[in-house]
């Protein structure tokens, strides 16, 4: 991290955030990580923050800085379906689903809210491409700003899916690609990473938990699980399983607790985030002590563990 970036970070902590946004926009572009640049271009992070929220904003920014442009980011998540019930995919999955919001148990292992928020946070312009029906959010849940620039692509076969994601990542004018990346080989993940680098886009790839041990060339890899919430707003815990994009201090094993925000009447109308980092619940970097695979080993216990750590 360069000196300018650190100076800006200090500025952030000092509480004068509205000016910091300007600093982000004008100077220091060479020294900052691209992720931070992406953050700086999201007005939602800078607008409406008073002194009390600065810690939270800094935490959110720090978390966002890992999700830099020009890289792919993999998201692992166990099914959030409330009980281990095997259910056949709903009828509408098979064929036509026009006119209805689709969904079902099939997509329950994709952290859609987070991906949606990130796609929104990457930039206020640029199209967002959703490849694979498993990662399609219900159209009614898309924020208006996102719905207008979303392009949803339906692909089944893995090779074609990778091709479609790669095409989208390389396209100028696309800011983020959310892709269903189950069954991705290491070589294919390298292809996608190169495509993201070439196109300076963000690739958000959803992978299945069973592929956690598989090598990949992605910039970061995250594990997501829902966390019980005291505020009455949905919360998720994210753990950084692998990280190639940032310095070691931000490195792997760190955990964050994210909370869904409701910005009132009409939701996020422009590029603001839909989630925030809950500052008090940010975990330490020592992830190695308990289960190394994070929260996935046993859902109930590990989730409770996160909650305890945060409160205590």
């Amino acid at each position: 991290m360069s000196l300018e970036a650190q100076a800006i970070r200090t500025l952030l902590h000092s509480g004068r955030v509205s000016t910091a946004a300007q600093v982000f926009g004008t100077g220091a572009s060479g020294g900052l990580q691209t992720g931070e640049m992406a953050c700086s271009s999201t007005p939602g992070l800078a607008i409406g923050m008073d002194g009390a929220d600065v810690g939270e904003a800094a935490a959110t920014r720090e978390w966002m800085s890992l999700l830099c442009a020009g890289a792919t980011h993999e998201w692992l998540c166990e099914s959030m379906w409330p009980c281990e019930q095997q259910v056949a995919p709903p009828q509408a999955m098979q064929k036509d689903m026009q006119g209805v919001g689709w969904g079902g148990v099939v997509g329950a292992d994709v952290p859609l809210s987070l991906l949606m928020s990130l796609a929104l946070g990457v930039g206020t312009e640029g199209a967002v491409v959703w490849v694979g029906r498993r990662v399609w959010p219900a159209p009614a849940s898309l924020p208006r700003a996102l719905a207008q620039r979303s392009l949803l692509v339906e692909v089944d076969e893995t090779a074609t899916r990778v091709w479609a994601i790669e095409q989208a990542l390389r396209t100028p004018g696309v800011s983020a690609v959310v892709g269903d990346a189950r069954g991705l080989s290491t070589a294919q993940s390298r292809r996608l990473q190169l495509a993201a680098e070439a196109g300076r886009t963000v690739g958000l790839l959803s992978r299945s938990v069973s592929e956690r041990r598989q090598l990949s060339a992605a910039g970061t890899r995250w594990m997501v699980a829902p966390v019980p919430s005291e505020t009455g707003l949905p919360r998720w815990g994210v753990e950084l399983l692998r990280c190639k994009v940032a310095a070691r201090t931000l490195g792997q094993g760190r955990r964050w607790v994210l909370e869904r925000m409701w910005t009132g009447h009409n939701g996020a109308s422009h590029g603001s985030l839909l989630v925030r980092v809950v500052p008090g619940l940010v975990g330490g970097s020592g992830a190695g002590d308990d289960a190394p695979c994070g929260w996935s080993s046993h859902r109930g216990e590990s989730r409770a563990g996160i909650g305890r750590r945060g409160v205590g």
Partner: protein
């Protein structure tokens, strides 16, 4: 007579089913082709009507050849050439030429032409009367016509037959008032149309669909990809210039290549269709679509002709410069358009969608995913937009069993409804509901949209609650007010 009977009488009988629709289509094709002789060609409206009623269609085409005869050296020579071309195509036809539509129709349909001076028996021409004598001769010819030549319906013809009327002359002897009273006004109208005393009939011309195409013939078989590329590009540019002048763009493009086959004598054509996400008259964009396919095309001994045709066009709205720096046109950026084209052509038209808002409060109807090329170009007017809907909505809500303090309270415990035999998994166990839940969202009551008029299966009023499962997942459940049944509708994943 039955077909079997007919077959006994004539063993080598050919039997074809009557297909008025196809007859009419063939007639339309012939009508389009007739534009070589006249700019105004119409199909006899009677044939159109009977065609729809699955009755044997009349098969008359009407050409307004006013002034056209001079181009062919006289109206008769025009008719002669037309007939010869028709015969070569396998049609048998007769031509009638007269100064009114009614008379021309009668001359074409009437069988004996002995009194009409013409070199060809199939052409009957009633020349424009030059003097009083020829006018009287023309009247005589017309009056000799049988009544069936008046284009009347069968019932009227039968009535006239019963009255002992056989020719037009018989009818003209009667008082006009009596004819109108006994047979109907339409008989008088037809009579006037025949003699040209009524207002001239209007013809409804057949429209010729404009073929938007450009082609390039090559002097000899060409295999050089560079030259072929230049030719196709040139064709695309010409096509786009034509379209651009009228503010239209291609939606479906067809490229046809005529190849010389390996025996160096015969040809065949290969064609490729291209789909565009948005109508465009940008030759560069079309070329970027066509080029990859062209490079892979099998050329055989070489190409002799390339042809580019716009199969479907749509209006393209001009871009207007705006004051706003960031117009919400992310999806219409050229790069994204190109991506959409690429994906469309590999994955198919329905695999590309975008979200469109609807005016509805019912969550599954509030927005829908429409195929990209069918989506509206401009966003509709502002619609109420609920962002707090869960990211995962179930197509069919799942029944739940719920424990609540009172029926209209949010649930305290829930499980999936046990329908039929108990499930082997853990869905039978009751699960706790954690507090608190999303405070601003529940309860939310959504009434049925009665104005949609679904009387057969009326929707019920739903009361939605956002609850927190013991695992921390937020669920969107609702209770049907009328029945008190609970359902799971979505998850905030």
């Amino acid at each position: 007579m039955s077909v079997t009977h007919a077959r006994v009488l004539a063993p080598d009988l050919l039997v074809h089913d009557l297909d008025p629709r196809r007859d009419l289509l063939a007639l339309e094709r012939a009508a389009r082709w007739m534009h070589a002789w006249s700019p105004i060609v119409a199909i006899d409206p009677d044939s159109v009507r009977t065609g729809a009623e699955l009755m044997p269609a009349s098969d008359a085409l009407m050409l307004d050849i006013t002034g056209c005869g001079r181009l062919f050296g006289g109206e008769e020579r025009l008719a002669g050439r037309l007939l010869r071309r028709l015969v070569r195509r396998g049609f048998d036809a007769r031509v009638g030429i007269a100064s009114t539509v009614g008379a021309a129709w009668a001359m074409a349909h009437h069988r004996h032409h002995t009194d009409v001076g013409s070199s060809d028996a199939r052409i009957a021409r009633l020349p424009e009367p030059a003097d009083e004598a020829s006018r009287r001769a023309m009247m005589r010819t017309l009056e000799d016509l049988p009544l069936a030549m008046l284009r009347l319906d069968v019932d009227t013809l039968e009535t006239m037959d019963e009255l002992g009327l056989t020719t037009v002359r018989d009818l003209r002897r009667l008082t006009r008032g009596h004819v109108a009273a006994r047979l109907g006004r339409h008989v008088l109208e037809r009579l006037d149309q025949l003699f040209g005393t009524a207002a001239p009939e209007t013809l409804t011309p057949v429209r010729v669909p404009e073929r938007l195409r450009a082609e390039r013939s090559l002097a000899g078989p060409v295999t050089d990809p560079h030259i072929i590329g230049l030719c196709v590009r040139g064709c695309l540019e010409r096509l786009c210039r034509t379209l651009g002048a009228t503010d239209r763009g291609v939606l479906r493009l067809r490229v046809t290549l005529t190849r010389l086959l390996a025996d160096a004598r015969s040809h065949d054509t290969t064609r490729r269709d291209f789909l565009l996400a948005r109508a465009s008259h940008n030759a560069g964009r079309l070329w970027s679509l066509v080029r990859p396919r062209l490079e892979r095309a099998h050329l055989a001994l070489g190409l002799e002709k390339v042809e580019v045709e716009a199969l479907s066009v749509r209006r393209v709205r001009g871009e207007q410069a705006t004051l706003r720096v960031s117009a919400p046109a992310a999806i219409d950026a050229p790069g994204v358009q190109e991506l959409a084209d690429t994906l469309l052509n590999r994955l198919g038209a329905s695999s590309l969608r975008r979200a469109e808002l609807r005016e509805s409060h019912v969550p599954e109807r509030a927005a829908s995913l429409v195929p990209w090329h069918r989506s509206a170009d401009t966003p509709r007017r502002e619609v109420m937009w609920h962002t707090h809907r869960p990211a995962l909505l179930l197509d069919t809500p799942r029944r739940l069993d719920v424990l609540a303090l009172t029926p209209d309270h949010p649930p305290t415990r829930w499980r999936f409804a046990q329908l039929g035999e108990p499930a082997p998994d853990r869905s039978a166990t009751w699960r706790e509901v954690r507090r608190p839940a999303i405070p601003t969202l529940s309860p939310e009551r959504i009434a049925s949209e009665w104005w949609r008029g679904e009387m057969t299966r009326p929707e019920r009023t739903r009361e939605y609650h956002a609850i927190q499962d013991e695992s921390g997942v937020f669920l969107w459940v609702f209770r049907e007010i009328e029945t008190g049944r609970w359902f799971l509708h979505g998850l905030w994943t």
